[in-house]
Amino acid sequence: MSFVTIFYGISFYVATLILFIGLSYRIYEYATIPAPLKIPTPPAPKTKQGVAVRLIREVVFFESLFNATKWTWLFGWLFHFALLLAAFRHLRYFTDPVWFWVSWEIVQAAGHYAGYVMVFGLLGLLGRRIFVDRVRYISNPSDYLMLILIILIAVSGLMMKWFHTDIYAVKQFFLGLMYFQWTELPSDFILLLHLSLVLLLMIIFPYSKLLHAPGLFFSPTRNQPDNARDQRHIADWAKKLESKR
């Protein structure tokens, strides 16, 4: 077994562990820290079902962002939507037999073109960071690097179209990792670059602003029903104050 295979094999295990344990721990934290007061923003739904609808609209359409700034919305939404399509396309590397809908021509083609859309969206976001004085002011090096990292992931992925890689072997490698029957990973430069960057992204996910993904679902301004007058909403730590009443 080559060094490259062993190195990437182990790296993917480690990165997956960090991603899942890190993310689960964050979600556990968010779920267990109380929100002691009702603070939903308008238009606030009155019921849990209403909250679900609100969150779906935020996740699917980025509704608040749309109301805030059209350019950021356009670039951001295109990027995220394209990311989803690209992720669908990639499922074929992890499923055997390939899930029927993943193998559909349209899913595969959409996943491919989504790569370009991703790059377009990300460049737009990068442009805003560079050219809009307010966004430039709040940007830290990590904010630029994050965009550049994902751009490079997308570009290296797209480049594999031209620099031929043995896709079948790559798929065997990942299935091998999943079922603990390792096979060799082709050591093409572009492929290894693509995979390295993805590894990096997985590792920093639970420690970075990428936490906005779970964060949205735990944001009290968005996930609370507006029913404060009907229901007392008291945190455990606040209940302790009551005995002193």
Binding site: P45, K46, S64, N140, H212
Partner: protein, 499 residues
């Protein structure tokens, strides 16, 4: 610390997004609270020696008690969508007044002390130590936030800078750096019962005076009862309503409504204040203590309902928090929500035709309505989504013939704060207040020019006081800001037969 002269902003036709000017208002900070007021709220009197440790401990504590703070520290993508949404940024151009800029003052410290990347790569992620300079920046800029939540409406994650400002103020209080205006006022309520420090006899006197005024005016004997047991309604209203213009006309309006509807009501000298400045300083304990006074008064006076007068943040605490802080209110009449807003009461009576209006009484006015931030973005009325916008407007339309809304981007949930909310309604912050009022003044100027609007109605004591100043400053007339229930009081058809 004298208040410096500052350049007067010129009102534009449309509010534009300014180019940022670093440090534009770094010189602004409110007076600090004196030792005695700090201590009476349970805070150290002055900056403690090991303040850095104490502050970080407090921050760690809040991060475990407030999900909002924790999630919001982690989740900001620095996307910039909020950067042009704060009236203080629009008015001052200072990038630390962009909501995310304001948040980052704390986020830097959070990253440094509570996250791994901040520990290992501080430069990369903008992590900073909590130094004295940082603390000073906190004091300055967390007192340039009126906690109006306009930013939270637009943020894709719903990050609410108000939550962060409140936490910052709580942390600063815990190391002995408190704000004079808020903390003195809380002290007064704890001691006497209201923000003005108005004791019971003086209050009784004032109310008597009001009875005479209304009698002279309308020839109807409208009562302003104080501490009357077994009344139906306990009215809790901002103490500015007892004295200040244009607030007091609102109070007369509520009294007329109760009188005409035949509802027995009373004020309480124990809970003679609707405002709850405990919220502004982010202190659950203090907020709860103030809220409990209302519960105590309701029990003591054996009332059936609690109704709040026109006050923005008081209504936020009342609507969104009171049940949690001081409930359950199972001893009150279950047919009414607890508490109710005076607009809900009036609206309901209006719909039931208990109240009749002569709109022509207000024909000398052309109205617009200012949605106060805390009512608009942190509460509700009438238990219908958006009721906090429609109920007041319904009432205005029922009591006047001429009403025009300001531009869509500046009303309802997108309303601009008056510039004086969040515990900033103090003369030591006058520059900030006037600059922060600019977006609202520009929107007002447009309806004045386009529709000949003569008056702006509001339902918040802070807004009314702030606008009295800002109107004069920007070339409007002091009396163009009025209480919504002033309109109601003037248009209400009263039965005179009792005389």
């Amino acid at each position: 610390m004298a208040v410096k002269e500052f350049e007067k902003p010129e009102l534009q036709e449309f509010t534009t997004i300014p180019k940022l000017v670093e440090e534009a208002t770094s010189h602004l900070a409110p007076f600090k609270s004196k030792e005695e007021f700090q201590q009476s709220l349970g805070y150290p009197g002055e900056l403690v020696d090991n303040w850095e440790d104490v502050a970080l401990d407090k921050m760690g504590d809040l991060l475990k008690r407030y999900r909002s703070l924790r999630v919001y520290m982690d989740s900001c993508i620095q996307c910039g969508a909020c950067t042009d949404k704060c009236h203080y940024y629009l008015g001052t151009k200072d990038p630390n007044n962009m909501p995310v800029g304001r948040q980052n003052l704390m986020r830097g410290v959070y990253r440094k002390h509570f996250t791994l990347p901040g520990k290992f790569f501080p430069k990369l992620v903008g992590a900073v130590d909590l130094t004295k300079e940082v603390l000073d920046d906190w004091y300055s800029y967390y007192h340039q936030c009126s906690q109006c939540r306009r930013c939270a409406v637009f943020c894709p994650i719903g990050i609410d800078t108000a939550e962060i400002s409140m936490a910052a103020r709580e942390i600063m209080d815990s190391v002995g750096v408190g704000q004079k205006y808020c903390n003195e006022i809380i002290g007064k309520v704890n001691k006497i019962g209201n923000n003005l420090g108005l004791p019971e006899p003086a209050l009784a006197d004032t109310l008597e005076g009001l009875e005479e005024d209304v009698l002279d005016d309308t020839e109807v004997d409208v009562k302003f009862p104080l501490d009357v047991k077994d009344s139906d309604v306990l009215l809790v209203t901002p103490s500015a309503d007892f004295f200040a213009e244009p607030h007091v006309d609102g109070l007369m309006g509520y009294a007329k409504v109760f009188h005409q509807a035949g509802i027995s009501w009373t004020l309480s000298s124990h809970a003679s204040e609707a405002a709850n400045f405990g919220m502004f300083i982010g202190s659950y304990d203090n907020m709860r203590k103030l809220a409990l006074r209302i519960r105590e008064a309701a029990l003591e006076l054996n009332v059936k309902r609690i109704v709040f007068g026109e006050c923005g943040h008081a209504w936020r605490v009342a609507y969104s928090f009171l049940n949690t802080l001081a409930g359950p209110f199972d001893f009150l009449d279950p047919r009414y929500p607890v508490p109710q807003h005076i607009c809900e009461v009036t609206h309901d009576l209006m719909n039931k035709n208990v109240l009749q209006f002569d709109k022509s009484a207000n024909d000398d006015k052309v109205l617009t309505f200012h949605d106060s931030c805390n009512v608009a973005r942190a509460s509700n009325m009438g238990d219908i989504i958006g009721g906090q916008f429609t109920l007041p407007r319904d009432i205005i339309r029922a009591t006047t013939n001429n009403f025009y809304d300001m531009e869509e981007e500046t009303i309802r949930e997108k309303t601009f704060c008056c510039g004086g909310g969040g515990g900033l309604l103090t003369d030591d912050l006058i520059e900030l207040r006037m600059k922060g009022a600019q977006p609202r003044m520009e929107a007002l100027k447009r309806v004045v020019e386009d529709h000949g609007v003569t008056h702006m109605a509001a339902i918040c004591a802070i807004c009314k006081s702030q606008f009295s100043k800002a109107f004069q400053y920007y070339g409007f007339e002091l009396d163009q800001i009025i209480s919504l229930h002033h309109l109601v009081g003037d248009a209400l058809i009263m039965n005179k037969k009792e005389l």
